[in-house]
């Protein structure tokens, strides 16, 4: 256990709590940079997938984890990012300009959508965003001249500094592009949380009434949060488009929206770490199930046993277990384990116990 004495406000908003913590993250960064030389191409592709999920997860985490607004429609914004990026590149915009522009446009679209929708609360908001996700699928089909309709679009090849980058041709280069985008989003996110705007987000999550009393403009702050969240999600969508190679309206269906939300809940709401943990679960689960299937079939001699839809089923089961037994997600469990060792032998069971609470109806507000 280290005791950090905070002597000024600057101490409170520093990037790292102490030097050792900084070391840990630098080691992690070094590991991420060295990854292409440690893994073969297949697993590097999987790692890239996890990074893309983590970018999208950070986007949704900002909105749901830090501003407290649940969205079941973020696949729609991934679609906006993917399509604007691909369409611009087809019209000759270079990748290095198209990617940030795709993020920006998604952010603007998100803010515009947010203005009417964010007047709703809690459950109504979830349903309205769900409708947006369903609508987006149909709109993609209708807007055929841009989106290619049902047959979808193929992401054009990336040209960067005179180099051809594609997922299968040069997986290492694609991995580094994803990593750079991820670090940029992470940097912006972490900084945002230290800034007044990020504090305003947290205030809205914890109590809208108190936030308003402290002078936070609720409607505007929520819309900004939605816009920023959509920007990150749009970037992830653009990268996903390149990662998948070709995509159509079914790539960004409602199930993807739900998966995004479930991912950050499993990871742990309200922490950046949670987005990464959740991304790892969702990225590696299909592999784990495939390996588990091989093991069981070789143990019992069942031959190749395939059950359709088992991924979604297992994923949902994990989620149910987490909500019931560890509502704070993987990050919450990690926090508890760490506290246990830091305080050893003074850890008490009730330290993370939630206060008993009772619901009141939202219909009389």
């Amino acid at each position: 256990m280290r005791f950090v004495f905070k002597r000024s406000y600057d101490d409170d908003i520093r990037w790292f709590r102490h030097r050792t913590q900084m070391m840990y993250y630098l080691v992690l960064l070094g590991l991420a940079v060295a990854l292409p030389w440690l893994l073969d191409d297949f697993f590097l592709g999987e790692a890239t997938n996890v990074l893309i999920w983590a970018i999208a997860g950070m986007g949704l985490m900002l909105l749901t984890g830090h501003t407290g607004q649940v969205s079941l429609g973020h696949a729609a914004f991934m679609a906006v990012g993917a399509y604007t990026n691909a369409v611009m590149m087809q019209r000759g915009v270079p990748f290095i300009a198209a990617l940030p522009l795709a993020g920006l446009i998604t952010g603007i679209v998100g803010t515009i959508v947010a203005m009417p929708v964010l007047r709703l609360h809690g459950i109504y908001l979830a349903i309205a965003t769900l409708a947006i996700s369903v609508l987006a699928e149909d709109i993609i089909i209708i807007a055929e001249p841009f989106t290619g309709g049902v047959s979808g679009l193929a992401a054009p090849p990336i040209e960067l500094f005179g180099m051809q980058v594609s997922r299968y041709g040069t997986p290492t280069a694609f991995y580094f592009i994803t990593l750079v985008v991820l670090l940029a989003v992470l940097f912006a996110y972490r900084n945002l949380l230290r800034a007044p705007l990020g504090r305003a987000f947290a205030a809205i999550r914890d109590s809208e009434v108190s936030a308003q009393a402290m002078g936070v403009n609720i409607a505007r702050t929520k819309a900004v949060s939605f816009g920023l969240s959509c920007t990150a999600t749009g970037l992830a969508g653009a990268l996903l488009g390149h990662f998948a190679g070709a995509f159509n309206h079914e790539t960004f269906n409602i199930v993807l929206s739900i998966q995004l939300l479930l991912m950050i809940v499993i990871g742990g709401l309200g922490s950046i770490h949670g987005a990464f943990f959740g991304a790892m679960v969702i990225g590696f689960l299909p592999q784990v199930i495939a390996i588990g299937r091989d093991v069981t079939s070789s143990l019992f001699g069942l031959g190749s046993l395939t059950i359709p839809g088992i991924e979604a089923g297992v994923f949902a089961l994990i989620l149910v277990i987490f909500i019931l037994f560890e509502p704070m997600g993987i990050y919450g469990r990690w926090l508890k384990i760490r506290t246990y060792f830091e305080l050893f032998p003074f850890y008490r069971k009730g330290m993370f116990k939630r206060q008993k609470s009772y619901l009141k109806t939202e219909r009389t507000r």
């Binding site: 007047r119 809690g122 309205a128 409708a131 509502p327």
Partner: protein, 289 residues
């Protein structure tokens, strides 16, 4: 044209019934059961399993009550064993939990009954009624009548009976309901049982009209639109919302180019949400200070 209206009404009744399930559970527990559509799918499959000749082959009129009872027990147990653990937590926790349960039900139904579409063998399949110079399918008329009766009796149940009032009280303020001697948790389990039973009825009606497969539960999203249009928390509102969507769908398909018609229900819902956020039959009252 009138044919279109009647089939729209019949479709709308099924949406309305699923929406009724949402509203029931919302009205009494303040939680939203995102798995209601999958409940309906399970109800349909349980009935098919009981009644169809290549499964158990029971008589239709024996199979229906058994299916309803099975689904009611399933609803009760689900609350008792799983959902109750989230008692007093924010709504959104239940939302996420029920989404996950929906996934599991879809996976389970697919593993047990396969992914092929199946039909329910009913005694009134293919028969016709002549009314006002129209030829209508008997099952469509039955769907509309059953839905109306069910909605009306549930409405009376919430308005008049002691249990119904206790359910409303339990949702409005859990702590206050406890003080008034209402066993809030047991009431909640009961309402989940009721939700399961309503889902079973919806499933039976749906399966007698058309094919069911495990992803039928996604129909629940449309039923959401219905519940929201009617105003979450209002039983007649849910039915009206369902009927509106049921009617809009065929006419949108008739009048608009292909592709636009699927958008119509959700577009209506978004408009209602934006201009009348609490729905047509609003339950929201501003608190006076």
């Amino acid at each position: 044209m009138l044919q279109l209206v009647v089939s729209g009404l019949a479709n709308g009744s099924v949406y309305g019934l699923i929406a009724l399930g949402f509203v029931l559970i919302y009205k009494a527990t303040e939680a939203v059961n995102f798995a209601q559509g999958d409940f309906m799918m399970m109800g349909a499959f349980v009935t098919i399993w009981l009644a169809n000749s290549h499964y158990l082959g029971l008589d239709f009129w024996v199979a229906v009550p058994i299916a309803i009872v099975i689904m009611a027990i399933a609803g009760y147990l689900l609350d008792l064993l799983v959902v109750r653990r989230l008692f007093g937590q924010p709504q959104i926790a239940t939302v996420i939990l029920t989404i996950a349960i929906g996934f599991i039900l879809r996976f389970g139904a697919g593993a047990i009954w396969g992914h092929e579409p199946q039909w329910l063998e009913t005694p009134f399949a293919g028969r016709e009624v002549r009314m006002f110079g129209l030829v209508l399918g008997l099952e469509e008329v039955a769907v509309v009548i059953v839905t109306l009766i069910l909605t009306w009796s549930l409405f009376l149940f919430f308005r008049r009976s002691k249990l119904g009032l206790a359910m409303q009280a339990a949702s409005q303020n859990q702590l206050a309901a406890y003080y008034m001697g209402i066993p809030v948790k047991r009431i909640q389990s009961l309402v989940w049982a009721l939700g399961g039973a309503v889902a079973a009825v919806a499933g039976i009606l749906f399966a007698s009209k058309g094919a069911v497969d495990p992803s039928t539960g996604l129909l629940g999203i449309k039923a959401f639109a219905a519940a929201v249009i009617g105003g979450f928390g209002s039983l007649p509102g849910a039915l009206v919302g369902g009927l509106i969507i049921g009617l809009v769908e065929p006419f949108a398909a008739y009048a608009l180019p292909a592709g636009y018609s699927q958008v119509a229900p959700y577009a209506i819902m978004l408009l209602v949400l934006i201009f009348r956020p609490a729905g047509l039959f609003s339950q929201v009252q501003k608190k006076k200070v």
